[in-house]
C-alpha cells in the first residue's frame, strides 16, 4: 500500500437525481454524495467521515453548466467546477464575485474538480462560495426522488457543516437572480497562507441608482463564524445613502455585528483578529463592489 486510504464503502454512480435520492434514502443518512470530492475525500482519509456508501454524481444528467435565463437570472449546475466558473464569460460579466471567489479557491488542481454544489452542500465555515451565495441572494435548488424546491441562501446555511438540505435531497444547482441596473459585486479574502482557506472572506453586492444612492446591499461573510453569515447590520447602514468612503467605513465597523459571540477562534486566527479583519475586509469588499457598479 503506497497511499493512505479511507474506510471501505459501497460505490454507486447513478444516472439521475431520482436514483441518487433513492440511494440516499436506502442508506438512511449513512451515504455521502460525491461531486468533485475535494472536501469529502480528505475528510474520509482523516476518518472525519466514514460513510457506508458513496453516491458519485458524475454520471447524473443535467447537473453541469451555466445558463443565462430570459429574465436575466443565471442557473449554475451543481457539478459546475470552479475552473468553469472562473473561465465563464457570463459569470465574469454578470456575477463577477462568483469568478473572483472561485479563482481564489486553493489551487488549479482543486479548481479543476471542486464544484459550486459541493462547496455549498459541504458548507465549510471557511468555504468561499457560501459567502458569495449569500451576497448575491442565490436560490439553492434541490431535489429528492419525489419533489424539488428552492431554498433561499438566507435560510440555507444552518451551522458548522450544516445546511437546510434534507437527508434524501440532492443539491442540483443554484439560481443567481438578475442583478439590477447599476449593480456590482466583489469577493475579497484574507487567506491562510498554506491552505488558502478564508480566515475571513467577504462578498458584497450593491445596487446604485441614477442619483448615486445605494438602493440595495447584501454582504456575506465566510471564515469568521460557524457558517456563511449575512451581515444585515452593515447592509442597513449602506442602503439609502451615497456610498462615500466614510459611509463604507461606518458600515464596515458593523461588518461583524451579526457574528458577535460566534467568531471562530482556532490555530489559524483568534476570534479577536477575525473580528478586526472582518471590518477591514467588509470595507474592501463593499468598495470593490461599488467600483464594479461604476464600471
Amino acid at each position: 500500500m503506497t497511499t493512505g486510504t479511507t474506510d471501505p464503502f459501497a460505490y454507486h454512480a447513478p444516472t439521475s437525481v431520482r436514483e441518487a435520492s433513492q440511494a440516499l434514502s436506502r442508506y438512511r443518512g449513512d451515504a455521502k454524495l460525491l461531486a468533485g470530492g475535494h472536501s469529502l475525500i480528505p475528510m474520509m482519509k482523516l476518518r472525519i467521515a466514514s460513510p457506508q456508501a458513496i453516491i458519485d454524481l458524475r454520471n447524473v444528467e443535467g447537473l453541469r453548466g451555466i445558463t443565462e435565463n430570459d429574465d436575466g437570472s443565471i442557473t449554475i449546475g451543481a457539478m459546475t467546477t470552479y475552473h468553469e466558473l472562473v473561465t465563464s464569460d457570463v459569470i465574469n460579466s454578470k456575477a463577477p464575485a462568483i469568478a473572483q471567489a472561485a479563482s481564489q479557491v486553493a489551487d488549479t488542481q482543486v479548481r479543476n474538480w471542486g464544484t459550486i454544489g459541493g462547496s455549498l452542500a459541504h458548507a465549510d465555515p471557511a468555504g468561499d462560495l457560501p459567502a458569495v451565495a449569500v451576497a448575491l441572494g442565490m436560490e439553492i435548488n434541490s431535489a429528492s426522488a419525489r419533489s424539488s424546491r428552492s431554498i433561499s441562501c438566507d435560510r440555507f446555511f444552518r451551522g458548522y457543516l450544516e445546511t437546510a438540505l434534507r437527508a434524501n435531497e440532492v443539491l442540483t444547482g443554484v439560481t443567481v437572480p438578475a442583478q439590477a441596473e447599476g449593480s456590482g459585486s466583489a469577493y475579497v479574502k484574507l487567506a491562510n497562507k498554506a491552505s488558502h482557506y478564508a480566515i475571513v472572506g467577504v462578498a458584497a453586492s450593491v445596487t446604485i441608482d441614477g442619483g448615486g444612492i445605494c438602493t440595495e446591499a447584501r454582504i456575506g461573510i465566510t471564515g469568521a463564524g460557524p457558517h456563511a453569515i449575512r451581515s444585515r447590520r452593515a447592509e442597513r447602514i449602506l442602503v439609502g445613502k451615497e456610498l462615500t468612503e466614510s459611509v463604507i467605513n461606518r458600515a464596515a465597523q458593523r461588518g461583524g455585528a451579526d457574528i458577535a459571540g460566534m467568531f471562530n477562534d482556532d490555530v489559524h486566527a483568534s476570534a479577536e483578529y477575525r473580528e478586526a479583519m472582518t471590518k477591514v475586509y467588509t470595507a474592501r469588499a463593499v468598495s470593490a463592489a461599488v467600483a464594479c457598479a461604476d464600471a
Binding site: T6, F9, I41, I54
Partner: protein
C-alpha cells in the same frame, strides 16, 4: 464489492477490478506499476501526485479510481514520445528545474496544463499556476525558469 474501471493511461486502455476506496494514485502505482507519480503528503496539499485526467491537472491522491472510469490519464511516463523528451521535460533539464526530483513529475504535469491553457504566461501566472505543487529544495526559481523556457521554445512569450 469491487468496481470495474476502464481507464486509458498514456494511450493504453486498461480494464481493472478495484475496491471502491482505491485512489487513482494507488491504481497507477500499485496496479499499473507507474511509479513516476509520487505520493507526498497524501492530503491534496503537495501536488507530487498530479496527473492529467482528460487534460486537467489532478491530484491523483484525491480521486477514487472509480471516478476516473472512462477517462484518459497522462502520467509523467507518458510525456516523452518516441524517445524524445517532452518540451517541458527538456526545459526542466536545461534550466535545472529540480534538485532531489521528488516533486518534479507533478511540477511538470501541472506545467503542461499551464502552457496548454496559456502558451505565454507571465512569471506571476506561472507562480500562481504552480501554487498547488510544493518543492522543498529549489526555492522554485529554476522551476519557474523552466516553464518560461518551455513557453519560449514553443514560440510563446
Amino acid at each position: 464489492m469491487n468496481v470495474e474501471v476502464t481507464i486509458t493511461v498514456n494511450g493504453t486502455e486498461h480494464r481493472l477490478q478495484v475496491q471502491p476506496r482505491t485512489l487513482l494514485s494507488t491504481l497507477l502505482r500499485d496496479e499499473l506499476d507507474l511509479t513516476g507519480t509520487h505520493v507526498g503528503c497524501d492530503t491534496s496539499s503537495c501536488g507530487a501526485c498530479t496527473v492529467l485526467v482528460d487534460g486537467n491537472a489532478t491530484k491523483s491522491c484525491t480521486m477514487f479510481a472509480a471516478q476516473a472510469d472512462g477517462s484518459s490519464v497522462t502520467t509523467v511516463e507518458g510525456l516523452a514520445s518516441n524517445g524524445e523528451l517532452h518540451p517541458i521535460q527538456e526545459a526542466f533539464r536545461e534550466m535545472h528545474g529540480l534538485q532531489c526530483g521528488f516533486c518534479t513529475p507533478g511540477m511538470m504535469i501541472t506545467a503542461v496544463q499551464i502552457l496548454e491553457r496559456n502558451p505565454s504566461p507571465s512569471e506571476a501566472e506561472i507562480r500562481s499556476g504552480l501554487r498547488g505543487n510544493l518543492c522543498r529544495c529549489t526555492g522554485y526559481h529554476n522551476i519557474v525558469r523552466a516553464v518560461q523556457h518551455a513557453a519560449s521554445s514553443a514560440g510563446g512569450a
